[in-house]
Amino acid sequence: MKEIRLMKGNEAIAEGVIRAGCDGYFGYPITPQSEVLEYLMANKTKERTGMIVLQAESEIASIHMVYGGAASGKRVMTSSSSPGISLMQEGISFMAGTELPCLLLNVVRGGPGLGTIQPSQSDYFQAVKGGGHGDYKMIVLAPASVQEMYDFAKLGFELAFKHRIQVMVLSDGAIGQMMEKVELDEQVPRWTDEEIVKLHPWSTTGKTPDRERNIITSLDLNPVKQEIINRNLQKKFKHIEETEVRFERIMCDDAEYLFVAYGSSARICQKAVSLGRAKGIKVGLLRPITLFPYPSKELEKLAKQVKGMLSVEMSAGQMVEDVRLSVNGAVPVEHYGRLGGIIPAPDEVLNVLEEKFIKENLLCKTH
């Protein structure tokens, strides 16, 4: 039987990275995700697997330590919350330019600026559209439970190395701070130096006589070459869009109306679905698990079936743009969001769905 624990989301991902064979964590504390660093420090991580856990002097230092660790083929990561992730954008862009794999965790809080420490989803654009400079994408995973916080540690590293890409787990204060049941799996051993050389021939592990030096740089002043580099990057992103889309359908089969929501908003909408069903409203939920790549094709399909979609986010309306792009006008798409750290309630979002789609339709029919 699997080991079961009651854990906070932040603790679960910390345990998850240890068990996924992570080599190094570099971070700087910030609410609401400081438990990640605390857990790694308090749980004898070094003694358990030899994993390095280091509190850097700043977020900028953290991300560049990740850059260095990733260049040597190690499984490395950092975590922060919104203002700290903003500080890291330069380093993330450099890793995108050098195709270095890493795991990044953003436990989002309300912004802009220092904002609040309460949960928010207002960093969607930054995570999905490329927060740093240049044409790049990261794989973005959106956990909706503490179990997924744990699971996405291992999945994140797998995807990062499979595609040589940065993987961001885009969580929020609610998922980070709440406790749920977590099923833990066996320890994945850390890679040995020999395994790294064999598995990641691109990594800077020291020149051997049988090959040229490995150089990791995002700089190429020749625009012709730089265009080729960029085209190859785009090819990779396209491939990821074709192969790595993940989502969950909840009560979608006969749905006439659809919530689209990720992370903690998806949990709230899931409750709203059952409240709606109890009232006889055929409502479903599409929960994107990957925000990049986005489940556009699934939404396109659902647009042929439903009468309206409501994107529910703790933001002023960011993901809703991707929902609209996906359905391309085939069906009305509305947005509902709470801002600055306020979490919507299940009956609140159901009311909005009724107001926007159902009551309006009834009015139209009576005229």
Binding site: I4, L6, T31, P32, T116, I117, Q118, G173, A174, Q177, M178, M179, E180, K181, S264, R267, I268, Q270, K271, A272, V273, S274, I343, A345, P346, D347, E348
Partner: protein, 184 residues
């Protein structure tokens, strides 16, 4: 079965740990559980609350605005949560420090003098376990053996010698409930 509970009071009354022990015990009894705290600046000396859900099914929203049971331990929380109890639900409160008592007539209200009782036991620390006992009497969702497992898991090993005292407090809490709530 799904039981949606809010526990609210001052930081330091053991609100969050009561919720944690309840959630852990539920999990040991093979239930689905969630524990969602208020967190942030309001915790430092101010009010604290936690939403605990115990269910036989996968839990949808860990964040709620209506509750089957509210456990209320200070006036601010009474003002905030009295009206969040579902019709026919339960409100348990300690009258110490309460200046405006609950007035609703469509819920079941129980006063539990846990502060007085814990003083009689000579340990203010078990205050929250007395309240928890009262809840478990009204909603016997979790067996005593699973409560013990929950206590073992929630308390650090160096405090395991305090488990019998906590169990005693739970029993006293149970005995303080005079009339029993009937589940419809």
């Amino acid at each position: 079965m799904t039981e949606e509970i809010i526990i609210a009071g001052f930081g330091g009354q053991g609100v969050l740990s009561m919720g944690k022990i309840l959630a852990y015990s539920g999990m040991m009894q093979n239930k689905e559980v969630s524990w969602f705290p208020s967190y942030g600046p309001e915790m430092r000396g101010g009010t604290a609350n936690v939403t605990v859900i115990i269910s036989d099914e996968r839990i949808s929203s860990p964040i709620l605005n209506w509750f089957d049971t509210a456990i209320i331990l200070n006036q601010q929380s009474m003002d905030k949560f009295e009206n969040s109890v579902k019709k026919g639900g339960i409100l348990i409160y300690d009258p110490n420090g309460i200046t405006r008592h609950p007035v609703r007539t469509n819920i079941n209200i129980y006063t539990i003098n846990a502060a007085d009782e814990s003083a009689r036991m000579g340990s203010a620390k078990v205050f929250n376990m007395i309240i928890l006992g009262a809840f478990l009497k009204l909603k016997p969702l979790i067996g005593a053996e699973y409560m013990r497992k929950g206590l073992e898991k929630s308390l650090p090993a160096r405090h395991h010698d305090m488990i019998p005292e906590n169990e005693k407090a739970i029993d006293i809490g149970k005995s303080l409930v005079k009339q029993t709530y009937t589940l419809n």
